[in-house]
Subunit: 364 residues, 4 copies
Amino acid sequence: MPGSTFGTLLRLHTFGESHGEAVGGIIDGFPAGFRPDFEAVQLQLNRRKPGQSSITTPRKEDDKLEILSGLFEGLTTGAPIAFMVRNKNANPADYEHLRDVYRPSHADFTWQSKFGIRDHRGGGRSSARETLSRVVAGALAEQWLATFGISVTAWVSAVGPIQMPDDIQVLNRQQIDAYSVRCPHEDTANKMIELIEELRHDGDSTGGVISAQILGLPAGLGEPVFDKFHAELGKAILSINAVKGFEIGSGFSGSSLRGSQHNDAFVASAEGEIETAANNSGGVQGGITNGAPVYFRAAFKPVASIARPQDTVNKQGEHEVISIHGRHDPCVVPRAVPIVEAMAALVAADFLLRSNAIINTLKG
Amino acid sequence: MPGSTFGTLLRLHTFGESHGEAVGGIIDGFPAGFRPDFEAVQLQLNRRKPGQSSITTPRKEDDKLEILSGLFEGLTTGAPIAFMVRNKNANPADYEHLRDVYRPSHADFTWQSKFGIRDHRGGGRSSARETLSRVVAGALAEQWLATFGISVTAWVSAVGPIQMPDDIQVLNRQQIDAYSVRCPHEDTANKMIELIEELRHDGDSTGGVISAQILGLPAGLGEPVFDKFHAELGKAILSINAVKGFEIGSGFSGSSLRGSQHNDAFVASAEGEIETAANNSGGVQGGITNGAPVYFRAAFKPVASIARPQDTVNKQGEHEVISIHGRHDPCVVPRAVPIVEAMAALVAADFLLRSNAIINTLKG
Amino acid sequence: MPGSTFGTLLRLHTFGESHGEAVGGIIDGFPAGFRPDFEAVQLQLNRRKPGQSSITTPRKEDDKLEILSGLFEGLTTGAPIAFMVRNKNANPADYEHLRDVYRPSHADFTWQSKFGIRDHRGGGRSSARETLSRVVAGALAEQWLATFGISVTAWVSAVGPIQMPDDIQVLNRQQIDAYSVRCPHEDTANKMIELIEELRHDGDSTGGVISAQILGLPAGLGEPVFDKFHAELGKAILSINAVKGFEIGSGFSGSSLRGSQHNDAFVASAEGEIETAANNSGGVQGGITNGAPVYFRAAFKPVASIARPQDTVNKQGEHEVISIHGRHDPCVVPRAVPIVEAMAALVAADFLLRSNAIINTLKG
Amino acid sequence: MPGSTFGTLLRLHTFGESHGEAVGGIIDGFPAGFRPDFEAVQLQLNRRKPGQSSITTPRKEDDKLEILSGLFEGLTTGAPIAFMVRNKNANPADYEHLRDVYRPSHADFTWQSKFGIRDHRGGGRSSARETLSRVVAGALAEQWLATFGISVTAWVSAVGPIQMPDDIQVLNRQQIDAYSVRCPHEDTANKMIELIEELRHDGDSTGGVISAQILGLPAGLGEPVFDKFHAELGKAILSINAVKGFEIGSGFSGSSLRGSQHNDAFVASAEGEIETAANNSGGVQGGITNGAPVYFRAAFKPVASIARPQDTVNKQGEHEVISIHGRHDPCVVPRAVPIVEAMAALVAADFLLRSNAIINTLKG
């Protein structure tokens, strides 16, 4: 059944396979009268794009965005914004050897089990190329959020066993992009890059962690009970290819603390605003934002496509040995940074719209 | 806007505040012709109930379930199943001192910010008492899942800094309930109980981790892209009060491994079934179940209600010191076990229904 | 699958069978901080209730409303409002003869076909008693709409072949309730009453038409394309038991006109407001309200329960003759007036919330 | 907020403006493993296309369909099917005079009121060109329905005051397309054509009625209470541009009958199947199909674009006289026939998927 829609009042529907005609989507519910900056959208696409640096795949994708609807003289009209990027560079013969074999820890077997048919070329619909559509929609969402003073920033905080020290304060994307690995701490970044190059040489891969923060959210976003802010955010992040874990605020490590250590005392600011002295809650209490920064982390598993020979089976259950050559990243997290930002922006924008529905009506 | 509904084809709508008339819900989409065992539902309610043992709150709640609709001569009819449990034991005066003060790390401030009004008695709608409705619905869902050979089991794997060894294989609820703390490892359980009693004595609290597994799921559940099995499961678990983290399969620790270590090789079983040799994926690949056990972990923050004095502010932003006396658990995870089971069962049942819609139609 | 939910931002979930424990519902998404007038709700329930006058069924139902959640000190809190009315007066033996027989033009056969089981007592879930929940929710919605100057009024414009003249301007519910048949035109009302009494004597029934108007709606409600104002309104009205037709504005009769006759010329009012000179559009153009009154009509089929003997079959397909004695209305439209009002109010309130989401965000 | 999605398990999302880059959509939830016949889809597009005959607009649209995703080697894969048709023939200058004026009974004023901005070229998003996407999706749905023996057929039963006699039994699309007006009754068709040509000469327009039937539906489709089969069908049909009325079965005329005349007696067929002797219900009882043909009628208002001068106002509220020259149909119903078929097919396919979810699970 349908599963390619995200959001409630700001909705993204995506389509497309890695080696089909195009990937793209429809954004429905985007506010009218807004003038998007498509150069800024393209920038985020470029950050997601393969072949950016020595540590990412040299595979070239010329992700040229085409807007099909929803704008008039440069402004959104309230109508659905459809967009697409044509696929290029597809040579089906390159993938013929994967037609009947199941790559370990890919979606080949599960898709076949579910649908009885699959497009085996480059992962088909399960390819991370689908996330391109999320980056487009997320980039538009974050431009709209910026008009409310809300920003989203993500960075790489771990690559394999190498972790960034906790005490680094992250400021902006320029600082993050200063290193190809998108970790804004020089020493750590260099070690990460070294590890990734070593893995490439070994025909191996690794996972990593992306950290992110949303600044400027007003208190009151998120719906009590099931549609809590961090529950929707968690779903959004967990829906990104390769993500196996999500935590907000103190997360897993907070579970070992005592309540007296963990509770965020309320204080009044000099301006009389009610704030929290600490932020173990990660900006969300009872599923609703409290005005403090929302911060969260996402765990990415190691890239499943590796050059080293692996045991697997084919459709008939016969043993095969597979080596996945080709242009794959040894570690996906640097390129996943704009994808995490995109999903976080979509969640924040959706909740802003959802909350306004209530807030506004009381003024009627 | 609305946020009290969970699920797509099997839907739970909940209602009720801690100290209102009743808590309850409507289950819509439950298959017809099924004979629920309400004694088994009551058993799960009892496992959630306060006052079960020396380590939980002595607060007594007599959670007597009343079914209002959807059954006929003991069988489900396809009509919505409404149920409720009356609230008792409410003395509004007990909560009068909380009317204008914001308890740290509770939902008091955020609810007030969002809605401009709140029921301050016992957390109101944000009280964990709401999860009672989830347990009812989840218990029905797991009974239905059992007819397909699917089971859900959760247990406590950490209380504060005390963690259960990883190599314990968990078998069933009897083993889990052998210890009041619901950790099925004797040495660990005893240490956990000791810690909890110490915390109670100190007027403090702690968090913990619940681990869980879903066995018997067929391959093919979960929808590609946004409605991935583990994305919906993650949302479900993160929507439980106090949960700040979720991971499936190898989770956060898997992100430090290499692809060659982490990938789950496919093998053919003696019966010719395609399986994975390892299960770092946690039973889900590309968002779709692969037939292996689904296992996951949920991080619970320390209980926010503690007797120790805390700094906070009231509605006017004035400083107050608050000590939350009353009947609160020093650690909520033992009682949260059936809640985690309930949410996991709802997700599994919903996806089974969603997947059948597709599977079946091809046979038309 | 689920089908008992109506609405997008203001949602009603209903439950209950005619002779089960209770009927009721949950309203999710109702704005916080509103003080409902439950006496006014009860008034609308009384207008729906059987046994109001000589022309309705003498069956007594004491529809006493119980609110279970969502209010605090008389104000809505933003939490779901659950409510129920206990069923009384049920004697299962009265319905035993209907256990295996399919009443013509009832839902007995179709429910059995769909679910393989049914509650045969008084129509079970398909009973019009379910509409009681709609009246409760609709009455709350219209109270909230009233704060924006929006009102909903319905009346009986036809009973069987007897039609009210078109040129009657309807003003308020007092005028409508002046006649037991709820047609505000004395001569017509008297003829209708006469017909209904004749039908009761004959053990027969008839259908009718309800007309309605929504006044005070701002321009801009309704969403382009699929969720047009009148498309959602049409669904809402067609979901009422026995409704077989819906038309807005000029409706079916307008289809025989010429464009030059039918088009609603725009004019500027003395105050500079843009209005239409005529209102063949019924207040909706391109699926969006234009600020003119929304008016519509609903066709109700004849009541299916009649005392006259009818041919039918039982579950085994064997011929039976059935006479449905009991306390049934010969014509349901007088009592359906508040149900039509309720559904129209829910649609209007939902669209007001949906539109505000957009309207408000532009002011951010 | 979002309004461009139709359906629950089979979902259509549409996009595009009359004079933007393209119109198209995404179909999500289409069953996997199906081989669509795109020539048959094109045939339905051709039936919708302007310029088919002397009685439709001579405006040429070369609606060439491009499939962007969701197919692999000619088969559906379960992934979203995206498609589009490029817009051509757009000369923005042709529409400059409409930038600030509100055409009577069009969506110009209401769109502007709602969104504060509009694409004035050819109706923008409110143009009937959007229905092209519905025809594509509906044509795919009806091909899939055909594998279950289900068919959908619509025809013109009235043009202005000229109505087809009731006793005509309609068999297939060939009979319907035998006349350019798509009324399968020769005498009536000729009179209709004559009227339309007269209207064109007068610079005027008219409305009409489309009748339709769905054959071969199993009993059991449709969900009780709000998502009744005919309520969703009504919404679908009312969402088509220019539709102001919908009725199923006996509809408005049935409301004047007596129950004893209107009730559909159940009988057993020679094969032991339970059927109804008559079909005033139009194949739906209690919102659920009973296996009899579903038939319904849709009222279309007169085309709003007429050459005759009309009074209106501009954005500033100043009086203007407007004559809408250009290539408009004097009567839209002949071309709307495939649109009605498309929406009915989408509803039937969606309910088939929704019902199977329940039906199948009982067999688990």
